[in-house]
């Protein structure tokens, strides 16, 4: 038996037991209620009687409690992010203010809420949602638990593309084009990583793709460094951006990022069921009537677009795309139809909370958020690497 069961969920006894009444694994708890005649003696203990009652058949579903937990996490992150800062605001007032009810906040405090803190929290939520969902999508697409926008070189390529535009004198590159430059850079890097890693090893070893991604990342980072050194006057701007930061520049970045985020998330969510088909390999997927190459193309384009735009507005925020989808998989199983929506919600909450840590832990100074996610993510990555390596045997 592989470790996959360990990596995903300890089976029916797992934490998905208290889900709603439509998912499979908890069916054991309701065996007494529905017991259609089984045609053949069923293995003892697992007589979950899922035969005729169609609600019990079929795929893992988004369970409502988990979905609710995801929304709650987002709400908590939102309120906490707005409350906490140099000027402390009350939770009740913040909630009332956000709901546009009379909150008793002064005009200054209302400006702090609407013009300073809320945009930053919203940006954090959006970036976290996109990075986690894209990470989950890359992992399903490449059938590789280590696939992550950062490790695949996408972020490095996007960083280079964005830097190229940031340091150019602005005659032809408007700031609004930065996400586009990042997208092209990210796509080129993704393509290189795939050619070097997947083609070379016939997609077998998860590690081959990651090693190729590391090489591609290093290459693009080197080019980026060269650009920076040549453009000393921009170095501070670029440097703070590389380490990952959520800006305080009002709603500008949110509006810049929003269309890319919406497109990427909509496509990824729409394709989440198709992603499950890829799990049986290209040959079987084809024989089932799918077009694996087209699915992969669409998903990789969408995930890269979202990642690149995230890199363009917030710099390199590493490991989010690996931490969040993995935690979701451990709790909920590996089906992309569950992993992607929950990664979106918990990823959003996770990054907004991380940003909160980044800006309070050294207050009044600010830690780059990428440093915080790397601090949390690196040990986590080692854990995933170990279990993936064993699963590979």
């Amino acid at each position: 038996m592989t470790d996959a069961a360990v990596a995903t969920s300890p089976d029916a006894a797992g934490p998905d037991a208290p889900t709603d009444d439509r998912t499979g694994p908890d069916a054991a708890t309701e065996a007494p209620r529905t017991s259609p005649p089984a045609a053949v003696p069923s293995p003892a203990g697992t007589a979950a009687a899922a035969g005729v009652d169609e609600p019990l058949i079929g795929p893992e579903r988004l369970s409502r409690p988990w979905l609710a937990a995801g929304f709650l996490a987002v709400a908590i992150a939102l309120v906490a992010g707005v409350m906490i800062g140099p000027v402390r605001l009350g939770a009740g007032s913040v909630v009332r203010e956000l709901l546009r009810l009379p909150s008793g906040l002064s005009d200054t405090e209302r400006t702090i809420v609407w013009e300073f803190r809320l945009p930053r929290v919203v940006l954090g939520l959006l970036v976290g949602a996109v990075l986690s969902t894209a990470g989950g999508a890359y992992q399903a697409t490449f059938r590789n638990p280590l696939a992550d926008p950062y490790l695949l070189g996408v972020a490095g390529g996007a960083g280079f593309g964005a830097t190229l535009l940031l340091v150019s004198d602005g005659s032809w590159a408007s700031p609004a084009l930065v996400p586009l430059g990042a997208f092209i850079g990210g796509l080129v890097a993704m393509g290189l990583t795939y050619l070097l890693g997947a083609a070379g090893a016939r997609g077998n070893a998860p590690i081959a793709l990651v090693l190729a991604g590391v090489a591609v990342s290093a290459f693009f980072t080197a080019m980026q460094t060269y650009l920076q050194q040549r453009n000393q006057e921009d170095i501070r701007r670029v440097y703070s951006w590389i380490l990952g930061r959520l800006s305080t520049s009002g709603w500008h970045d949110v509006l810049l990022f929003l269309p890319y985020a919406v497109i990427a998330l909509a496509v990824l969510l729409a394709y989440r069921r198709r992603l499950d088909v890829l799990a049986v390999g290209d040959d079987e997927a084809t024989s089932l009537g799918a077009d694996p190459r087209r699915i992969r193309l669409v998903v990789v384009l969408a995930a890269t677009l979202g990642t690149a735009a995230a890199v363009a507005v917030s710099g390199l925020i590493v490991f989010v795309g690996i931490i969040v989808p993995h935690l979701v998989r451990m709790l909920m199983g590996s089906s992309a139809r569950v992993v992607l929506p929950l990664s979106l919600l918990f990823g959003a909450a996770f990054l907004a909370m991380t940003d909160l840590v980044a800006r309070t832990v050294l207050a009044p100074a600010e830690l780059p958020i990428g440093v915080v996610t790397a601090f949390l993510g690196a040990p986590f990555f080692v854990l995933v690497l170990r279990s993936a390596g064993r699963q590979d045997r």
Binding site: P55, E284, S335
Partner: protein
């Protein structure tokens, strides 16, 4: 066309399969050479042959998974004119060792077989779920639905893989070594099941098999492949003869008759008539 299979979950009209002059080259090597096979509607044809004779490649070519020359017709429709999705409505393949994604439940896995019936976002309908339920029920595997694939025994996994092929509701079932990983009890189980489905649902079956006795007992036509070409084909008693088998398997073989059933038994070659005398380079001629 696909709408005929997609319409109702009644029995599909039996479709025959005709392979004409299938040739496959892999890495510059001829793996199949001008293989022609005709499977009657509702019939069961089994392809046998030594390791490397090209059995699995033949099924993959029929499914359109390897590039090939020659044509495949299912129920009079040339499969080269079909999209992957339409083809999945005509042909369902059970691979020799199906990929069983860890963490996936049996229910999700079998539902993948309904893909060709689903809309662009692969959202399953009630009728898809009902089809999955009915097939699992039919195979006596209903209780497996909520279990994870990694928890299945070899026999259960094979049943589940067959279930996924059956929910495709294609009139033709391609089975690649359906019994290779099973003990004899489960071998008979699975083959009896396929045979029953063939009779009841009018399925046409094209399979590969290593076990010559089982091949002879279940198939109504046996095709012997040697070095990528058809060495012999016809009813089991015509193909599974001591002379033919000894020649192409390069082993000493006895064929016993149990009523009208054949039993093929390998024997030690010492002093037997059919020892390894046949020249391996001897190119078998296509029939």
């Amino acid at each position: 066309m696909s709408q005929t299979v997609a319409t109702r979950r009644t029995r599909p009209a039996p479709s025959g399969v005709t392979l004409r002059e299938i040739s496959v080259q892999l890495a510059g090597r001829d793996v199949l050479r001008n293989v022609s096979v005709c499977v009657a509607p509702g019939g069961w044809t089994t392809v046998v042959g030594a390791n490397g004779a090209g059995k699995s490649t033949l099924l993959r070519a029929v499914m359109g998974l390897v590039e090939h020359r020659g044509t495949v017709e299912v129920g009079g429709v040339r499969t080269s004119t079909l999209s992957a999705r339409q083809r999945a409505g005509h042909l369902a393949l059970v691979p020799q060792s199906p990929v069983l994604p860890p963490g996936m439940t049996v229910g999700s896995y079998v539902l993948l077989g309904r893909l060709a019936h689903m809309g662009p976002f692969a959202r399953e309908s009630r009728s898809d779920l009902r089809a999955v339920g009915a097939v699992l029920d039919r195979l006596g595997a209903a209780s497996l639905a909520p279990r994870r694939l990694t928890s299945l025994s070899g026999g259960e996994a094979q049943r589940v893989a067959i279930a996924r092929a059956l929910v495709q509701e294609a009139p033709v079932l391609l089975l690649d070594e359906p019994t290779s990983s099973l003990d004899i009890g489960h071998q008979i189980d699975v083959l009896d099941l396929v045979d029953t489905l063939r009779r009841e649902a009018g399925l046409t079956v094209l399979s590969t098999m290593h076990d010559l006795t089982l091949a002879g007992q279940y198939a109504d036509q046996v095709v012997l492949l040697a070095d990528g070409a058809v060495a012999a084909s016809g009813p089991p008693q015509d193909v599974l003869t001591e002379v033919t088998l000894s020649r192409y398997y390069r082993a000493s073989v006895r064929v016993l008759h149990d009523g009208d059933r054949l039993i093929v038994v390998p024997t030690r070659g010492t002093g037997g008539q059919h020892t390894r005398r046949v020249d391996a380079a001897d190119p078998p001629e296509a029939t």
